[in-house]
Subunit: 308 residues, 2 copies
């Protein structure tokens, strides 16, 4: 296959803005996506940090339509499309592929626990067969601490063998570098692109031959993360990595999604960005102040936000 068209670099699981009555807000989403693209960060819309599973398939399809209508290029998007229900995964994946998405990030079905690799293989196989589109590129989504359904090395091997074109790579959000390393060593040489699950492992992942990272804090610190991706072979790469880690460390003191939204709301002077859907809860006023105070001391990319 033509590897030039493969997704690489830094992607962000884009936060999903909601109106006060909890309706997905396409206008604010488009604005945030444009800003991320201007900072060279691609759009992993409908990720964990997008509250994707707190939205219906229809709500996600409508948002995707809005992004495409707003001129967001498909090849900069990697929408999350994996759901518990096979039919939901198929419907959303098909929609994403038709919109020209460069790839889709696909959770395994995550309701049943301790399911077999046979069952997970059958799930991905059914999606691929039913979508039946040569353009489909699936990035598997390994986030065992949330999904509780791991993507094992044995499953990857089996899927790659059966569907070498459709199975394009993985996002490893396990936080277990040994696991990422094993994927890099075993599968990256076959053109299976390994994305680190956060910028914490961006430099290590690039040095190991990986494709980039997909990271929550890409929502708030896109410029510097993209810069490390571009310049990871420069002498200051380790210093850059340390600076990224410091900034991320601040967000990690808080519930991540509400904290990202509080920061974005503050930096762009639009409180509407702070709304979350249940079961998440927005930061308290006290938490918000603490977060914003901590961020003030950092050389932080958010001031680049265009207030429009």
């Amino acid at each position: 296959m033509n590897t030039d068209t493969r997704l690489r670099g830094v992607f962000s699981p884009v936060i999903t803005p909601f109106s006060a009555d909890l309706i997905p807000d396409a206008g604010r989403l488009v604005r945030h996506c444009r800003w991320l693209l201007s900072k060279e960060v691609g759009l992993a819309v409908f990720g964990t940090n997008s509250e994707a599973n707190s939205m219906s398939v229809t709500e996600k399809m409508v948002l995707l339509d809005a992004l495409v209508e707003a001129g967001v290029p498909g090849h900069r998007m990697m929408p999350g499309t994996g759901a518990c229900a096979l039919t939901d995964s198929v419907e959303l994946t098909r929609h994403a592929v038709r919109h020209g998405a460069g790839g889709v990030l696909m959770l395994p079905p995550f309701y049943y626990k301790a399911v077999s690799d046979d069952g997970l293989f059958a799930n991905y196989a059914e999606v691929i067969e039913r979508v039946a589109d040569q353009r489909l590129r699936i990035y598997l989504y390994h986030i065992p601490q949330v999904s509780n359904v791991p993507i094992t090395l044995a499953l990857i091997e089996r899927l790659l063998k059966a569907y070498p074109q459709a199975i394009a790579g993985i996002k490893d959000s396990s936080g277990d570098w040994e696991n990422t390393k094993a994927m890099l060593e075993r599968f990256q040489p076959q053109g299976f692109d390994v994305f680190a699950g956060s910028e914490t492992f961006l430099l290590a992942n690039m040095r190991g031959g990986g494709a980039g990272c997909i990271t929550a804090t890409g929502n708030v610190n896109p410029g510097p993360i993209a810069q490390l991706y571009r310049t990871w072979q420069q002498p200051d790469a380790d210093a850059q990595q340390q600076a990224l880690d410091r900034l991320r460390g601040i967000f990690q003191r808080f519930p991540m999604i509400p904290a990202l939204k509080a920061a974005i709301a503050d930096f762009c002077g639009d409180a509407g960005y702070a709304t979350v859907r249940p079961p998440l809860v927005a930061l308290s006023r006290h938490q918000s102040s603490e977060l914003l105070l901590a961020l003030k001391g950092q050389s932080f990319a958010m001031p680049g936000w265009e207030r429009n």
Copy 2:
């Protein structure tokens, strides 16, 4: 409220038949439901053992329509309607209430882990406010080993206080009798109906003042389980309980859902009942034989199946 209309007794999370190409099979579902009703077992369609989360909301609404069209009475149904997405929960719950369902069994949103009671309260509150129907009766669904999102006693207390009419009870599938007992003691006196999560605790639950049980094996052993519910105050109740436990023990040696489906397929001579959707996997031929052999030795209710 009029407690006469409350759901009580034995319910089964009805298995969902699928065609060979994995489409929900309304015809086989209706047939199985009629048989369960003839055995005095109510229909907790769309439960964990129904592979409910492996179906889209639309697929479940279509099945519900088919059941109602087939004359299945709403007051014998307790459809599962809780989903990760608030909007999905609202849509399916509204549909169930409009069809006259006696209650709905509602999982908490289960993608995010370690969410707060504030967030879970907000989720249930939003569903109740949006469905906005006086007929809504919610049975909370506590199954922490699968959902990984427990329903705490503190959350129940708060929900009951805010929505004493809509919050009708709970299914406790934790398998932790101390937890069920605490619910019986604290909340059953307020008219909050506690259902045991299987027949294993049916007798204990009835002795503690509970409302019955909702159990997977109701799909295959409905008569005897319903009989214990009817006669739990009789002298042979403990012996009945032991017989139920023996039968259940056989199924517990296998993956429960495929085992239920294999047994039903065999007893009604219709292999079509055995199909499961990914990520589940049907029993192997060897497992099936082993299960059916073990069942042969039991006084088992399945022969009551009408072969039509």
